[in-house]
Symmetry: C2
Subunit: 81 residues, 2 copies
């Protein structure tokens, strides 16, 4: 069973790394980009025997407590078969 | 229009950062985790007037040429309304 966790900065939090990427891609000739924001992505492999609801809860707790900073970041959890 | 780019290490490429995260969450009491891999996630905002097919092509080129290292990383592009 695979769990995917996406962590991104909350709206309104400045993202200098995203701005730097936007500036770079503009210099490289990509036009018409209004904004770039960078986040993190985690792929967590769990045993196939794990209970899906329990896995979702455990991974959400992990995302909240370890993988993200809830003051400035939002997270999203997806569980795949 | 929003484009999302997910960049992850190719299977088989060692991910010491993911291993460190796995070790940490195990120390914190999360059990039954077989593997953790870390990737990157980019949210790119494009003008709503942009053509969807053209946007997908442009963002895929950006993912290939700028946002990922195609030797060790895979990327996935999603376009949202």
């Amino acid at each position: 069973m695979k769990a995917k966790v996406y962590v991104s900065l909350k709206p309104g939090i400045l993202d200098p790394q995203g701005k730097a990427i936007q500036h770079s891609v503009e210099l490289l000739g990509f036009t018409g980009i209004s904004d770039v924001r960078q986040g993190k992505y985690f792929e967590i492999t769990l045993p196939d025997s794990a209970d899906q609801e329990q896995a979702r809860e455990s991974v959400a707790r992990m995302a909240r407590e370890v993988l993200s900073n809830p003051i400035i970041e939002d997270y999203r959890v997806e569980i795949e078969g």
